[in-house]
């Protein structure tokens, strides 16, 4: 298998109510296994459209895998199975064993067994059934004229589990053709400057820079003819050149990496947020187990809170303004003392759309860290879009903590 088409079925996809995340996940899963998705089709719950898309896919030369998702549920608009039955002129078989497992699932959670439950346990005579651990509808694997067709439910959690359970892919080794390095705290052009020579002198590898709100991801890929060993050497060289900016080469988020580090070092964190308004705290507490290293935060949106809870001096605010290096430092110190934490971070800035001036434009932000009786404070002029400003600012704050404790 090397060329695939994905067909997603569902009126809700075509009407724009639901974003098609399945197609994207499947593409990415297959890519890692060296199967190229050359086409994606989305059709509604209509017999004619399903047949038309399937014919298109089956008749395309070179295609040897078709993945179909959606329309397997128990309601009247779920017609995928019926359409396929007619298309292949075949019959339904009931998977009795699976049906009894399904029924017992409902009994276990004290739910009434739905009337039409048996429809969820049928599969086509020309197919192999695929169990659905996270839902009810059975999937199917059909082989037709050297084309393998997988038929899966549209619910993402069910579909993903079934793809991962599928024998079809188990035999395919991960190709290690791609490798992503996630960096923070450095601009794309600066990264490029550092890596320029290495990239130019290694034409067997592709390097793509993907900037995002956390930083820049660097995606490396090797040509098929190049060995994994050489690729590994190339990765190593690239990593070495930009060492400290790398926070992850896995799916881990910045806050997860930071959380682990804080936990390992047994450091307790506190946060004082003004313009970021809770985003840093939210990110930190998104991570399970955050209570091990996170004590708490003060969101000091109003200046009185800065003074009253964080003990920022009235004079400091009056003299330098609430958005200033000095206030950021005092906020960080204030929250550290009041929470008795080991390290703290504070933000004060102007996220907009109001509040900017010539001297202090929208986008300006100061981020301060207090650690081991030292202050680190940095000034940034970030984009003036409120949402983007807050998102980038929170990631910078997380990364600043990471860099400080990594020293």
């Amino acid at each position: 298998m090397n060329q695939a088409i994905v067909i997603t079925i569902g009126n809700e996809l075509l009407q724009g109510y639901t974003l098609d995340t399945n197609a994207s996940w499947i593409s990415s899963y297959l890519r890692d296994r060296d199967i190229e998705v050359s086409n994606r089709l989305t059709v509604g719950d209509s017999k004619q459209e399903i047949v038309s898309s399937l014919s298109y896919a089956i008749n395309k030369i070179k295609i040897n895998l078709i993945i179909i998702t959606g329309g397997l549920g128990p309601t009247h608009d779920d017609i995928t199975k019926d359409v396929l039955k007619e298309y292949f002129s075949t019959d339904f078989i009931i998977d009795k064993n699976y049906l009894s497992i399904l029924k017992s699932k409902f009994v276990r959670i004290n739910m009434r067994i739905p009337k039409n439950i048996s429809s969820q346990a049928t599969y086509l005579k020309n197919s192999l059934p695929i169990s659905n651990k996270n839902g009810t509808a059975l999937g199917m694997q059909i082989v037709d004229n050297n084309v393998t067709i997988l038929v899966l439910p549209g619910v993402p959690s069910e579909m993903k589990q079934m793809v991962q359970d599928c024998d079809l892919f188990k035999t395919l080794k991960l190709k290690n053709k791609y490798y992503t390095i996630k960096t923070a705290g450095i601009y794309e052009n600066k990264l490029y400057e550092i890596l320029f020579k290495e990239i130019k002198s290694n034409k067997n590898f592709k390097v793509a820079f993907l900037p995002n709100y956390s930083g820049v991801d660097i995606r490396l890929s090797r040509l098929s003819k190049i060995s994994e060993k050489l690729f590994s050497e190339f990765k190593h060289k690239i990593r070495k050149l930009i060492g400290k900016y790398i926070y992850s080469d896995s799916d881990e988020l910045l806050e997860e990496v930071l959380g682990k580090k804080l936990n390992t070092l047994n450091l307790k964190l506190s946060i004082a947020e003004s313009c970021t308004g809770g985003i840093i705290s939210k990110k930190i507490t998104n991570v399970p187990g955050a209570s091990k290293y996170f004590l708490g935060s003060v969101i000091a949106y109003n200046n009185n809170i800065k003074k009253k809870i964080l003990n920022v001096n009235k004079e400091t605010i009056e003299k330098f303004g609430p958005v200033s290096e000095e206030v950021a430092i005092e906020m960080a110190r204030g929250v550290l003392l009041i929470t008795d934490s080991d390290i703290s971070v504070a933000t004060t800035g102007i996220s907009g759309p109001d509040g900017g001036s010539d001297e202090k434009p929208i986008g300006l932000i100061y981020i301060a860290i207090n650690y081991r009786n030292k202050n680190i404070v940095k000034k940034f002029n970030l984009p003036s879009n409120r949402k983007i400003h807050r998102e980038i600012a929170s990631n910078i704050a997380l990364n600043m903590i990471r860099l400080v404790i990594n020293k």
Copy 2:
């Protein structure tokens, strides 16, 4: 025009790196204008694939609109225009006026004019050019055999603006065939119970319940033969039956509706968050102008913070545990007093994955409000998935405030 096909072009879409949000937005835009998207195709930046998808779309009967996005940029993998030129055996024309506008854009922001800029100002001889206000690539409108083909860039902000500017759609009236009521604080089955009779006795309207983490959206639609007046009466009846649960019938989020209300009533809000860890604060401060009604928050993840900053009694925590009605009440009172706000909300619960017990399982949460010297506290057993728990809990908190101040 009534039947459309959307073709999105780009390797990044097929490789799963980018989620195809364009297709979904276009579908929704067309649906509101009574144009049905019967198919969506996604192909890579490959001549063969683009041609194959275009032939498929053009040759489909009943289709009279094709929207193509992507592949119009200036880099070597943007080949859409070249492929179309060959497909229609036609030539390029340079839009000199547009080109000079483009160049002056670069001059204005002090950027070097890119070498291949003129490629961005070309269009096909058989097309009408479509200006791109938010970017560089010119779009095109081609009419071929009664099928209108729109060719637009893949960058969402550019594409959307160009669709909205397009004369083609300006003549189409919004059909008012759909109406969405957003509710919070009531379960889907309870809503259905209340609306059951009304729905059953009005077969000319469709009613769909769409549960989400804020509550349940109710989507009403009318059959084409039914007048807008009758639809409007039906909307009114439905609204009347579930009045207080409705928070919006527009794109407004719960936190935006709440913000406006707080502002109108001149009420200042403060928040004490334990398990929600900053999400409520983040949502409140996502709204521009939140500083008018939001003072600040204390994220009391650690019990010491609850005691020290929020003045929760040590005895209350010892006697009832940190996750209790009593502690929630004291947290709400504490944050109200320390911030001198008019109203406050507090959360304490168990988001998991650890910390649950038989008596207090994962998912349990208490949410308290302090307003006009009164406490309101509610207990919820929410899903045990950490992310979902936090998301739902924060929305419940926002809605509780909304309901209290609406009284």
